[in-house]
């Protein structure tokens, strides 16, 4: 069964058409990146999948249900560009937030928080407050929070966009490890071509005005990806393929209608 099914989705904000005629399907266990220049509607698409905004027309299904029902059933976890941790909660309490909302009892929560701290390698930091952590660590807490209730789908909106290159590459590796360990499906919005290719099983290339899918690149790099994946010739070929698809989309935009 498909985890995400987008059918003929269009989103209009006032005068602007943010998305037009989007169709695509994501299968269970995939890691799909949405890439494109600013204004191509990739974050909008992610929010439609999460039912944080509603499409003007068309349908978004998650796990075979309307996106709204999937949100109510807590089928997905979301990570934003900023960690969006609650300042007044410790690391452990931030991770436990969705569990509290799902009314898990205290003991189950504590056990799960411990497991998640191990998963994102933040053991020993449970009693720290967010502002006492580096940006990369904060983002790992956000990932732990998003995965704490075992959602089948993880939505990520440029989660590493605000981090330095070194931290970003390390977190990319960690994310892949977590993805394999949790077996969830990931939809990942990014600006970075290299990041999209390195992480994904498929890269959805989008172009702006109006936002639409201009190409889909299947990434056939061997799993699991390692530090040397970035040095493989195939990696460079795929990066080039995505770059060209992006430029093609850009040219389409320039061409007279």
């Amino acid at each position: 069964m498909s985890v995400v099914a987008i059918k003929n989705v269009t989103k209009v904000f006032g005068e602007t058409t943010a998305l037009q005629g989007i169709d695509f399907v994501i299968q269970e266990g995939e890691f799909v990146s949405l890439i494109g220049p600013s204004g191509c509607g990739k974050s909008t698409l992610l929010r439609i999948i999460g039912d944080l905004i509603q499409p003007t027309s068309g349908t978004a299904m998650v796990n075979g249900k309307p996106a709204r029902q999937a949100r109510i059933d807590r089928d997905y976890g979301i990570v934003f560009q900023d960690a969006v941790l609650y300042d007044w909660r410790t690391v452990a309490k931030n991770i436990a937030l969705p569990l509290e909302l799902a009314r898990w009892d205290r003991r189950r929560r504590a056990a799960k928080v411990n497991e998640m701290l191990g998963l994102v390698e933040l053991g020993g930091f449970e009693d720290h407050y967010p502002w006492q952590l580096s940006g990369g660590m904060q983002q790992r807490v956000a990932i732990a929070r998003a995965l704490s209730f075992d959602p089948s789908l993880l939505l990520m909106d440029e989660p590493f966009g605000a981090l330095d290159e070194m931290t970003r590459e390390r977190l990319n590796m960690e994310l892949l490890r977590i993805w394999e360990a949790s077996g969830s499906t990931v939809v990942f919005v990014t600006h970075s071509i290299a990041e999209a290719v390195f992480l994904s099983t498929r890269v959805v290339v989008m172009s702006p005005r109006p936002g639409r899918i201009s190409d889909v690149v299947t990434v056939d790099l061997t799993q699991p990806r390692t530090a040397t994946t970035r040095e493989e010739p195939r990696f460079f070929e795929l990066v080039t393929a995505v770059r060209e698809a992006l430029h093609l989309g850009h040219d389409l935009e320039q061409a007279p209608a």
Binding site: R47, G50, L52, R71, I72, D73, R74, Y76, G77, I78, F80, D82, V84, Y86, D87, W88, R89, L97, P98, E100, L101, A102, G124, F125, H128, Y129, P130, W131, Q132
Partner: protein
């Protein structure tokens, strides 16, 4: 992790040094104010300047005589003035504390209500503002006349004063609660939506914690206002047991013994400062924020 662990003792040393620095500054400013008072007094008396007023021992007693008066008997053979005023201050503190609690709770509840219903806010907020433009000396006697007959014996008189203090307390809390509840980050709200959290739980798990720094900023204003409210409230209800009663009493004897009124003012100020510090302490214990995000 080790980096953060290492920072801890250093952070404590910095905090201690900062605390000492603050204490030194407090004493220094106090001494400067003292010097200003005495210097003004000395200069005006020497030059016999009459603008804005003629300085005499009655108009501006020596500061040390005011503090001296606290240790002298309030009347021949009676207790020391300070112990008399201390008991009055305790009585006023009871009224102010009850008024503060009542005002804070009312202010918060009203803020929550108005913040959640835009229509109510538009309709009611102007009236809430208007309520604060009526001088408290007008409201105070009415409150006493309305409430006193209805109050049980344990609350007689001082209960009405507490309500007057609450009237001065609730307004800043309401305004700041509304502001604070709307201060929650847009992403943080989206996160709550992604968890399908109900409005009620968003209120308690996100909006209220986000509003706390704003609410405490208001509570600090209200803490001192509640003391002023209690003192003013005592006047029309002719309560003799509090600082308000003492102020009336000593202002009648001002020309004979000006230090009495000044000493009462010192105690009233100390009470206000005490209330303020209690709220500050509560804030330190309750509000957890990045240092740069504290209001």
């Amino acid at each position: 992790m080790s980096a953060i662990a290492l920072e801890r003792p250093r952070a404590r040393a910095v905090a201690v040094r900062r605390g000492l620095g603050r204490a030194a500054l407090f004493v220094l400013v106090g001494a400067a104010l003292w010097g200003l008072w005495e210097g003004y007094r000395w200069l005006w008396m020497r030059e016999h300047w009459t603008w804005p007023f003629l300085v005499t021992d009655t108009a501006m007693p020596h500061l040390h005589t005011i503090f001296q008066a606290l240790w002298d008997p309030a009347r021949p053979g009676g207790p020391r003035l300070i112990s008399l005023l201390f008991h009055s201050a305790l009585f006023t503190a009871k009224e102010a504390a009850a008024g503060f609690a009542l005002g804070a709770v009312t202010g918060f509840a009203l803020g929550c209500l108005l913040a959640n219903f835009r229509m109510l806010q538009r309709g009611f907020l102007p009236w809430v503002v208007a309520s604060q433009t009526i001088p408290i000396v007008v409201i105070a006697p009415m409150v006493v006349v309305w409430l006193n007959p209805k109050l049980p014996t344990g609350l007689q008189d001082w209960g009405a004063v507490a309500v007057i203090a609450a009237y001065l307390t609730f307004f800043p809390v309401t305004i700041s609660t509304i502001r604070g509840l709307h201060s929650a980050d847009r992403r943080a709200l989206e996160l709550m939506r992604s968890y399908a959290a109900s409005e009620w739980r968003i209120l308690w798990k996100l909006r209220v914690p986000a509003a706390l720094p704003y609410i405490f900023a208001a509570l600090k204003i209200s803490a001192t206002a509640s003391v002023v409210g209690a003192i003013i409230g005592e006047l029309p209800s002719s309560i003799q047991d509090g600082l308000g009663g003492q102020i009336i009493n000593y202002s009648q004897y001002y020309t004979i013994q000006p230090t009495g009124l000044w000493a009462t003012n010192v105690i009233a100020a100390a009470l206000g400062i005490g209330f303020f510090l209690l709220v500050l302490l509560a804030e330190k214990l309750i509000v957890r924020r990045a240092p740069e995000n504290l209001v």
